[in-house]
Structures are given as C-alpha cells and as structure tokens.
Amino acid sequence: MSDTFSYLLMAWLDPGLLGLTALGVLAGIYIGAIPGLSVTMAVSILISFTFSWDINNALALMVGIYVGGVYGGSRTAILLNIPGAPSAVTTAFDGYPLAQKGEAGKAIGLSTVMSVIGGLIGVAVLAATAPHLADLALQFAPRDYFLIAVMGLLLVSSLSGKSLARGIFSVALGATIGLVGMDMVTAQPRLTMGSMELLGGIHYVVVMIGLFGVAEAFYQLHNMAKVPVKQNVDKIIPPLNMVLKFLPLSLRTSIIGVVVGALPGTGGDIASLFAYDHAKRTVKNPEVPFGEGAYEGLVAPETANNAAVGGAYVPMLTLGMPGDAVTAVMIGALVIHGLNPGPMLMIETPYIFWFTVGNLALANIFLLVFGLTGIKLFTKIVEVPKAIMIPLILVLCVVGTYSLNSSMTEVYWMLGFGILGYWLKMFGFQMGPIILGVILGPLLDESYRQAMSSVGNSSGDFLLGLVTNPLSLVLTSVIVLVLLGNSPLKGWLFTRFKRD
C-alpha cells in the first residue's frame, strides 16, 4: 500500500518529472490547437527523441502532451471555428458562437475548468475500476460496435439544424468519404476512380481542416465588411456557482467519456459527439439555444474528451491493448524501453500503473494552470483584422494538412473540401453531420462486416444476435427508445392526444 502511494506521488515529488510533465502539457496545448499537428504524431516523434532517456521521464513528457493536446483542440475551435483535433469538433458548435459574441475568454475559461474536471474524473475511474472496466470493454463484440455506430448516426437529428433531410444527406456524404480507399477485407479499391493516391483513403483530418478551416476563410471573405467583435476579457475564470450548476451534467458526460474512451474501437472524438448529444437531450431549457452559444454545449464535449484520456489508458495498462491511436504509440514506447506491455504489466511492474495515474492527475493540475493563463493574449486572435487572418488561416490549413502525411495531393483535397464546405454552408447544410459521417462510416462498415462474417453471413443470425446477447439487447433498446422519442411518430401521437 505504501508502495502504491509512493508510486502515485512519484511525479509530484521529483522536480525533473514535475518539469517534464509541465513542459509536456504546455507543448501539448499548442500541438492540439494547431490542426494537423496531432498528439499521435508528437508522441511518436518523442519515441526516437527519448530513446536513451529513463522510461519515467519519457512517460511523463508523453502523458503531459497527451493531456494538453486533447484540451488544446478546443482553443482554435472556439476562437476560429477550426477544431484543432477531431475530438474538438463539437466544441466549435457552441464555442465559436460565444467568441462571436465577445465571450471567447469566458468560453476558454469554462472549457479549461471543465476539461480538468473531466480529466480528473477519468483518472479516478481509471484508478478505481481499471481491471473491471477493461473486462467490460472486452465484452463488446463487433455486433455491439455496430450498434454503437448506429447510435452515433442517430445524433444526426441533434446536429442537423433546421433541415433533417440535409442532415441525413450530409451524414451519408461523410460516411461515403470515409469509405474511400482500399477495402479492409478484400483489398479492392473503393470509390477511388482509379487513383493510386486515394488507395489509402481520405484522412478525416483532411476533411475536417477543409470543411472547417478553408470553408471558414471563404465564409469570412463573403462577410468581409463585418468587423471582428471586441472581446470581453474581464471574467475569464468561471464563478463557482456556474461550475456547480454544470457539475451534474459534467459528471454524466465524463462517465460517457471514460466508457467510450475505454472501448478499444472508439475514442475521444466519438465520446464528445455522444456527450454533446446527451447534453442536448437532457438540458431542456438552456439559457441560450444549442448551436448559438450554449454553455452546456461547451461543457459536455470538453469534459467527455478529456475523460476519454483516462479511459484510453484502461485497456493499455491492464491488457497491453491500445485504447486509441495515442496509447498504441505509447505501447510501442514501452516495448522500445524494454518493458513488456501486456496483462502482466500490472502484476510485474505495478509502479507503471500507479505512476501513470499520479502523473495524469498532475498533468490535469498543470492543465488548469496553463489553460487559465495567457487567455487574454489568445482572445486577441479573434480581434485580428480579417485582412491578415484569412490568408493566415489558409497557410495554417496547408501546413496542417501537409504535416499529416507529407502529401500535396491531400492539400489539394483539403482545398476542395473547403470550397465544397463553403457552398454547403451557403445553402443550409451543417458541417457537423459530415464529420459525424466521416468518423462513423468506417466503424459502421467494419463492425457490420465483422459481425456478419462471425455468423457466417446469415442475416437471420445477425438480427437474432442483436436481441439475444444481454449487452447487445441493452444497446438495441437504447436505439429503439431514442428512435421512438425522436420520430415523427411521437409528435403525431402527442398531437392526437392533445386534440382529443
């Protein structure tokens, strides 16, 4: 027990580790904020860089970058409507309207505090339930991932704005984009139109940077005359009663975040989408409607994506299986440092587990410090004249896209998506459902085909499986309930009832 305690506090007491964690968080915030620079990339660069270091030092730096990076995505989402990472897409929905009202400072302050709350809940769940949560995650069969993806598709009604038909079109368009490339099972090219470059598919960050970044630049050009809003930076740190008011919501969305993060097939991006949807369904009377600057719309995704960090460590530390792309690279780092990540890791080298838990908590404390300082300077970005901002946004998009895969073709695609996004936006389409489709399309296709292959391509057995397995039955019921609650059927029943 005293061992556990000393492992937990290791990062807190060693000045070297303390410094590295702080450095990691600070660097992570900027990496996360720049679209195209991802935490995965930063951590894999660090592997070569920290090769000769002591493992603890390397891990401290990586944990810091991970925590800072997941948070950093919200910065550009709020300030420029360009999410720095896919898990911050939903943050832009309400964060950017807030910045347009001159409340960017308040939005960043609130998102920082909520990220830290989410992050700490994630760590707490990791510390308390890791082995059990991992066993639960293993119970998810391909069939269940399919159901989760279907559940995700139902979010389209929350994200579509006024026209559901346009929302459904956008989701299908996004999913189609997500399926481009070589088929996973048969290696046939799909929708590539004979292009070699497209065999690897279209990276969803390319789509995201185009639809949000470049489309935003064009949109701003369209309204060139509009003067940037003066930002109010008096009250950056959210008052305690505000935090308390959102605490119940943030607890719920954090739990969503940890569980979705712990599933090896899903991560923070899907978690934040579910959390946003949850907030929209459960908060009936927000002060400001969702999509126009509701604080709840900011709280939900920010708590969920940071809680997902704790979740992603669950399968990594207990089973040696990655919970997401970043933990996959970290497993590689452990291997290179001569450790054996696997089920024995917690038994043979328990200090790695407790050290990581303590370090994650520490990183969240640093996040609070760094997140709340320098906001005034950051909000100035919104006040930069458009004449300077618009060309810079385009350059940032180009660099961000190119640094993903060093491919100019992807840069051209990014510009293409930007132009498409501009027109879609002009004619009443929302960007959210497209990104939803791009993220969920491959998961839907993969899990459906795995599930079908598992039952020998018998659709009868497939459907039976959805209601006979306890876990699948729960997921199916949720879907049916949401469908019933959403569909015109309910409205129809309701109006009939009223008329009588």
Binding site: A387, V395, F427, G441
Partner: protein, 158 residues
C-alpha cells in the same frame, strides 16, 4: 404558430440538383465495386449510402415546393445575376485564384518562398497598401512556422 416561409437562395435549386446528380454518380461507382448487390461485401455500404444520398437529395428538392422564391427574381437569367453578384465579388475571386496559384507554386518553388509571397501579396491587397507592415507580418508568420514546424516538430515541408 405561424411558420415563416423560407426563401430559396439564388442558385440553391441548381446546387441541390447537382447534389442529386453527384449521388447518382456515387451509386454508379459503388455498384461497380462488386458488380452487383450483396449483403456483406465491399460494395454493400457504398451502395446503401448512395441510395440514402439520392433519397435525401430528392427530399431536399421536394422541400423547395414549400419555400418561396425571392419575388424580385423573375427569371433564370436574373437569378444567375444575383448569384454572381453574391458569391463572385472581386475579393473572393482574387483570393481563390491566388490560393490555387499558391498551392501550385509550393511544388515548383519551395514552401517557404511561396508562402511568403502569398502572404505578402494577400496582405498588401486586402489592406490596400501598407507594404512595409505587410512584409513584416508575413516574415513574422514565416519565422513562427519555421521555428514551430521545421525546428521543433521536424515536419518535412516541401
């Protein structure tokens, strides 16, 4: 509850027709993956998605019947004019053309040179002069990108 009748934007109908055409194109490409319809194969989802896109774009087109045209727009030629004046203002066209030239130039020259020229040119154009400060801001941006991407993250830029 009185519903406000939405106006159709100039060019919206044409755009929605294009979406339908695009969806049909996707269906065609998707059908070619398997040369047929199967329940569990590479082509099943693309075909299904293409069908959803076709149905929803038809629904979008159908919804136009409930919307009203702008009463000032009388014929197609006029609508086209409104469309042009709304979306093809000089500064948007200049930005689009210069951006494309910029992307092409990255491959020919190098990233840093073309970016510098692009930024400087756009700054000078949009700020109507102020050449010195524009050049300064462009250089500053280049310096930041260099430090961040080339030195710190060792991203290879062309």
């Amino acid at each position: 509850m009185i519903k406000k009748i939405e106006r159709v934007r100039a060019g919206e109908k044409v755009f929605d027709w294009l979406l339908l055409l695009f969806s049909i194109g996707v269906l065609f490409e998707a059908y070619r993956i398997d040369d047929g319809l199967r329940l569990n194969s590479a082509g099943s989802f693309p075909i299904g998605l293409a069908l959803i896109m076709i149905v929803s774009s038809l629904a979008i087109l159908f919804s136009h019947r409930r919307k009203q045209r702008d009463p000032t727009i009388l014929n197609a030629a006029q609508e086209f004019k409104v469309f042009l004046s709304e979306h093809f203002k000089t500064h948007i066209i200049v930005f689009s053309i210069v951006s494309m030239m910029y992307l092409a130039a990255i491959v020919w020259t190098s990233f840093y040179i073309s970016t510098f020229i692009f930024l400087a040119a756009m700054f000078v154009y949009y700020r109507q002069g102020k050449i010195i400060s524009s050049l300064l801001i462009a250089s500053l941006a280049i310096a930041v990108i260099y430090v961040l991407f080339t030195m710190v993250f060792r991203v290879y830029l062309p």
